[in-house]
């Protein structure tokens, strides 16, 4: 059972989250080439080891999280909000 430490909700079970996608691919600009868009939508590094990915706390606070996780051991190194504009946990802005 993966347990992901949501910055807002704390440690929660895997089944409260849904996996999003590889968080290292960056969405190209509107005027980028078709090749860039192809890479963004279709190709993945798919590393065996540390992997940065998006998870959605859909069964909880509904925040999207950027999670750094090892795909060999499943160890989680870091979890942070995907959005810089959501109020940081604890202090409101």
């Amino acid at each position: 059972m993966l347990r992901i430490e949501c910055p807002w909700c704390g440690l929660r079970n895997e089944d409260e989250f849904s996996y999003g996608s590889d968080a290292t691919v960056t969405r190209p600009a509107d005027d980028a080439s078709q090749d860039d868009w192809y890479d963004y939508v279709y190709t993945r590094a798919n590393p065996a080891g540390p992997h940065t990915e998006f998870w959605h706390h859909v069964g909880g606070c509904r925040a999207w999280l950027k999670v750094e996780r090892d795909t060999l051991t499943h160890e989680i190194f870091s979890v942070e909000p995907a959005s810089p504009n959501l109020p940081a946990p604890g202090k409101g802005t």
Binding site: C9, E16, C61, P89, T93
Partner: protein, 202 residues
């Protein structure tokens, strides 16, 4: 603001349970809290603290930006409801609000700091209480509800009986208020009721 005496009566999602309590055992009790007003607030970029303050002032109840906290004056509950918002819940009659009054109050306090959305008819409120309440929750939720980890004034958005729900601890009895989507109310109540059976004979 619609006025009380013309509004039709509200038909709650669990109106099919005719008993006063869904479960009424020596050490655990489960009941629906009908006709609640539930106002969701979502704050715009950079307006979080300001909104919290405004709501706090308007209601005279602390509106905390600390995740997983819930404050109440015994009638109106102001619960953290995600990174940029709260859910404010009251039973108008108990809290002495005219229909729509709470909504108005919050809307005018929040102004354009955020969005104020009426969820009153979209949420079903249940109250689970008694010595065995934790044991019942243990069967349906992975939250750590041990006094060392949770308690009155705490709330959580989590999955209960495989359905998205909000859990608010009200007191040390312990008493938990549970909120779930209206359309799921019967399945939700059914799951909790089932989990209570073991404690029928105390």
């Amino acid at each position: 603001m619609p006025d009380a005496n013309t509004l039709p009566a509200r038909k709650s999602p669990l109106s099919n349970y005719t008993r006063e309590h869904i479960v009424d055992y020596p050490r655990v009790r489960l009941s629906e809290r009908k006709a609640l007003t539930a106002i969701q607030v979502l704050t715009f970029n950079g307006k979080h603290a300001a909104t919290a303050e405004a709501i706090g002032k308007a209601l005279g109840i602390e509106c905390s930006t600390a995740p997983g906290t819930s404050n109440s004056d015994g009638k109106t509950q102001v619960s953290w409801n995600g990174p940029n918002g709260w859910m404010i819940v009251a039973n108008d009659a108990e809290a002495g609000f005219a229909p729509g009054e709470l909504h108005e109050k919050i809307a005018s306090a929040v102004g354009d700091l955020g969005a104020v959305v009426d969820q009153s008819h979209g949420r079903c409120g249940l109250r689970l209480s008694g010595e065995s309440a934790r044991a019942v929750m243990e069967k349906n939720s992975a939250l750590d509800l041990h006094p060392r980890a949770f308690g009155p004034g705490r709330c959580a958005l989590t999955s209960v009986a495989h359905m998205n729900a909000t859990v608010v601890q009200v007191d040390d009895a312990p008493t938990f208020d549970l909120y779930v989507a209206r359309s799921l109310a019967r399945s939700f109540a059914h799951a909790l009721e089932h989990a209570c059976h073991e404690f029928e004979r105390g």
